[in-house]
Symmetry: C2
């Protein structure tokens, strides 16, 4: 059957991609795309930047229009229509017009659900204050811009320090507002590991964004001039002109659940590798579904546009080109966020996600290395230092995940590692990656190579590493192998200064019966010191990440 | 034996990397590094930017000094010493001091040759004019800067439009000189395929660099005021204050050859995967050696810093940690060059290199697709369009190579494809790559995904493509599916305008017995048109790359 009737619920990333690909695969299919909101195919990911007036015109956010779907794709797009019910037995959906309130039924051969995820709006006292907003679609942004657009709103509280929260913070800051960010966790970017995210904390701080970490909002009040007051569990109260709630999203599963479709353990719609729900005629894609973690398995909720688009496209293939598709390969969680000039990116597993897996019984022995490489050759002006964390399996060196934070060149390295992870690469593969090098773009040993080399040394036993948190129970000797001037700027607690370049001369002052941990600025000289010490019969280790990582960890304490 | 005596010839990329890693692996080895020039460990790749005063201080080019090698690595560095002879039988080298002229012998257990490659300086009449320079090391740059540094030299001729030539052109342009580039081939960047490189031609043109393509220098003359005159084979004569010869490099094999070491078919020192020459005690690395092409095999000369560094490091492992190393995996040829704001990058095979392989009997059936994606989401300001070419095996979709040219985001995509190629990825893997996406960094379907999707469609038969050069022998119908306003700005010869969005209505005007080729601006709408046509029983194909590729090809005609 190449003439099925396909009804799609949701007309943005997953839904619109499915619709467009479906038409390309079949001129004869009947394709109906139903969207509750007034727009289809809008750039959700651009919404914050429209508030920040970086994206000037609202229409720039409209990637495609119902007219384009009609003319180019011969797709019947129905905006401001909500699917309110699925009758699986009769293969019909009930549709309610949001403008007239009328309802009617529509039959389908295949139903594709791409309803997305809704911003969480917990039932806190006062949350219905008219200046408390969430950010999901163009009407949301219009409402916010009504308050920010005329320059009258001067201060904002953003609740939630994840991707969307920080993008909103950046943009509100960009239009000159005083911004406070309230985050329940000890650091922003809760998907990252703590020691990486603390650098973002510091950056926000330096940009005069007020950070309330480990803070929960308890209620909202109506303050003077009808402006909202935000009450924290700590008792603090913050006044602001507007409040943005960005504490996460929840998959829109109401429709699916009511129709008896299976949900998964994380609360998203359960699907197989071909995006089938438990009803063979119903597919689900995008933010509403649970996906398989690509690296370590396990069901996850990972709301990202790329996967939503690819899943929508895949469903079209499954329906209309059924002998061809490969199953969806799962989601790595490759993500990036710009935060006031800083870039934060990650791919694959974090220690946090590995911890969660382990709690579910899926244990993998891993190691991690920290480095602080530069975006490009340091002899070329403008090179920016980033922080890079690589996580890999102890057994075989398989790359499990990477996180990076910095001002330049960050997402490039994460993209390369993302491709490496997809292909099952090990740290040895990173070590010998052959990447673009000219001084304004990279280094002869790219940060990706360097991370691979450091990790390979660890796995091969060329280097033994420890991490700063282990210092607490350490009763050996900690040496700082930087130069005295560097040491003088601050050192780790208990460290004695033994500069690398005179280490060989001073070996006698070190004991052979105690462990010696060496650190420097980033770890490189410490590693060189470790090699000297080890070969002279000392029991030496390198503290991964150097004082930079110490400071990052410390900033946090 | 962990106490060998290692003598290294050449103290820069390959040599210095070998020395440093050797010391890290063994405190007891005796390591002597001999360098003909006055500096070790300098940033060759930064030399042009010092001429351009982008890298302000000469000392910034010195990545490490003999003192550092002594203090940190306990390495005996001998600068201004040339190794003039290898006595393999007695395992000694003869060393001549460049300052005193004295010679002496030094024994070795292992000899590592990393002498690099010398700029070609063909025996043209007048080439010894004092204002005709080559660019290899710091003394070369000093000499050039003596003429450019005081602002008196106003014009330059750069002979050779490869990486180094164009970097020199950029930098001379940057300090305000009028620059002419003379290139024997029909386009600059001879390692790229022609239709990709022509964009660089145009860019240089737009930046008022005078390009002489398909032009050979015949001789130099001494002109008025002792300035050089460059005579082209065409009879043209160009006057300039200085001339830079950058027509390529030749591996420094004199020493190896005199010692009876094998050279390979391309004239470099022959080595195995562990960088052994045919003498088990002599290794060779870097620009002087022939490497195996990683993608398609075959011996190549690929002078790049990354591989030189990795090979030097590998040799240290082979000597001192012999149970551990993996053999060198060959060179993909990942390279990047900045050209006056434009970035040109490539990895893996080109059509040109595949053509050479085929001539040597190594034939692979390949296909290619062109795309013109943007560096980031087009709805976010500043997105820059690039040109992207992906080459892949017809049989299994294995990625063979990629080239890209544009103003932003270019080297990132080539790096991702480089990693993909390293891991043996297919276009299907690119299709489902999961890369960083936020609007200022990329797109939900990244350029890498898009190239993969386009290629996958071709391999799966969802799309049939043709390439512009085939138009010459085409007797079907060529349709331009852009809007009339776009068509009016220029169209391919013989094309009739049939806008995509009204194509379905106008199908009757097209014949079913002729092939129909569709094109648009970049190919996307053409592909959509192709799908409509095919499904309505027409014999349709898409011209890959659209009018942008047509213009690129045309610019060249
Ligand atoms: C502010 C913001 C910034 C973001 N930034 C990024 C980013 O930088 N990078 C990234 O990868 N991802 C980002 N995302 C996430 C990304 O937008 C989503 O992952 C993606 O849009 C999910 O696609 P989807 O099709 O599942 O859902 P959506 O794109 O949300 O589309 C679902 C649509 O279905 C409609 N709908 C729901 N129920 C019904 C119903 N019953 N009847 C009719 N219509 C219905 C909704 O109105 C909605 O328009 C961002 C999201 C937001 C909100
Ligand atoms: C101007 C310029 C720009 C470049 N830009 C880039 C770039 O952007 N990216 C990139 O990847 N690559 C670039 N390269 C190439 C890169 O520099 C080389 O691939 C790399 O340096 C090769 O390393 P090597 O050790 O083989 O040789 P080299 O680094 O050239 O070192 C060889 C050394 O050996 C010495 N020597 C030779 N013979 C003897 C002897 N008999 N006795 C003693 N000493 C001897 C020489 O004096 C020389 O210093 C550039 C090169 C140049 C010249
Ligand atoms: C606008 C929208 C409907 C487009 O859907 P689409 O047509 O499938 O996707 P794109 O415009 O990205 O184009 C991709 C298609 O063009 C093809 N294509 C792209 N460039 C091409 C080229 N140069 N030559 C040939 N084909 C090309 C691709 O192969 C693909 O077709 P396929 O799926 O049949 O293989 C959908 O992406 C959308 O709604 N986007 C906005 C919402 C959204 O994604 N939000 C979240 C992110 S902000
Ligand atoms: C300067 C030079 C001698 C350095 O050699 P090197 O010490 O081997 O190389 P790097 O400084 O790049 O450091 C790499 C080493 O530090 C280690 N390292 C780097 N960062 C580290 C970190 N944060 N923690 C632990 N180890 C680290 C790497 O693992 C590697 O050691 P290994 O080879 O034993 O695994 C050599 O690169 C050189 O001469 N460069 C200039 C010339 C040149 O390359 N020219 C061409 C390009 S312009």
């Amino acid at each position: 059957m190449n003439t099925p009737k396909i009804v799609i619920v949701g007309g943005v990333a997953g839904g619109a991609s499915c619709a467009a690909r479906s038409r390309r695969l079949s001129e004869e299919a009947e394709i109906i795309m139903i969207e509750r909101g007034p727009f289809v195919s809008f750039a959700n990911c651009g919404l914050p930047y429209h508030v920040g007036e970086v994206i000037k015109e609202e229409e720039d956010l409209l990637v495609a229009s119902p007219e384009l779907f009609r003319d180019r794709f011969a797709i019947d797009v129905r905006i401001q229509c909500e699917v309110t019910k699925i009758d699986r037995e009769n293969k019909t959906v009930t549709i309610r017009s949001m403008t007239t309130g009328e309802t009617y039924d529509e039959t389908y051969d295949y139903l594709v659900l791409s309803p997305g995820a809704a911003p969480l709006r917990p039932p806190l006292e006062g949350i219905d204050h008219p200046a408390v907003f969430t950010v999901r679609n163009i009407p949301d942004i219009r409402a916010i811009k009504e308050m920010t657009g005329n320059g009258q709103a001067k201060s904002a509280v953003v609740v939630g320090g994840g991707f969307i929260g920080l993008e909103m913070a950046e943009n509100l800051h960009h239009i000159g507002m005083q911004v406070s960010v309230i985050e329940m966790a000890e650091h922003v970017m809760p998907v990252l590991d703590k020691e990486m995210a603390t650098m973002v904390n510091e950056h926000l701080d330096s940009m005069r964004v007020d950070l309330y970490l480990g803070s929960a909002v308890q209620s909202f009040e109506n303050g003077p001039d009808d402006k909202p007051l935000v009450n924290l569990a700590s008792g603090e109260q913050i006044a602001a002109d507007i409040v943005i709630m960005a504490i996460g999203v929840r998959p829109e599963t109401g429709l699916a659940k009511a129709a008896g479709l299976d949900l998964g353990p994380r609360g998203g719609i359960a699907v197989d590798g071909f995006m089938h729900t438990n009803d063979p005629n119903i597919f689900a894609v995008g933010d509403a579904v649970e996906v398989e973690g690509y690296v370590m398995g396990g069901k996850r909720l990972i709301p990202l546009a790329g996967p939503a688009n690819r899943q929508g496209r895949l469903v079209a293939d499954v329906i209309l080109n059924p002998d061809k598709p490969k199953p969806f390969r799962g989601v790595q969680g490759t993500a990036v966020c710009g935060v006031l000039g800083m870039t934060v990116a990650s791919t694959g597993e974090t220690e946090k996600s590995l911890g969660l897996m382990a709690r579910d019984g899926k244990v993998i022995e891993y190691e991690k290395v920290y480095s602080h490489p530069f975006s490009n050759a340091t002899y070329y002006p403008g090179a920016q230092q980033m922080s890079f964390k690589l996580i890999f399996a102890k057994e075989d060196g398989r790359v499990l995940g990477a996180q990076a934070v910095g001002l330049a060149g960050v997402e490039k390295r994460i993209d390369v590692v993302a491709m490496a992870i997809q292909m099952g690469a090990t740290v040895y593969d990173l070590e010998e990656a052959e990447l673009c090098y000219a001084p304004q773009y990279g280094s002869a040993k790219d940060p990706v190579n360097m991370a691979g080399m450091i990790a390979a040394n660890v796995l091969k036993g060329v280097s033994k590493i420890v991490h700063w948190p282990e210092l607490e129970n350490f009763d050996g000797i900690l040496i700082d192998v930087r130069d005295p001037e560097e040491y003088a700027t601050g050192f780790a607690e208990g460290a004695i200064n033994m500069p690398l370049d005179s280490l060989r001369k001073n070996l006698d002052s070190l004991p052979k019966d105690k462990e010696i941990w060496a650190y420097c600025y980033v770890s490189q000289r410490a590693y060189f010191a470790e090699r000297i010490l080890t070969q002279h019969g000392y029991n030496a280790k390198t503290v991964s990440g150097g004082i930079l990582s110490y400071w990052a960890a410390d900033a946090d304490a």
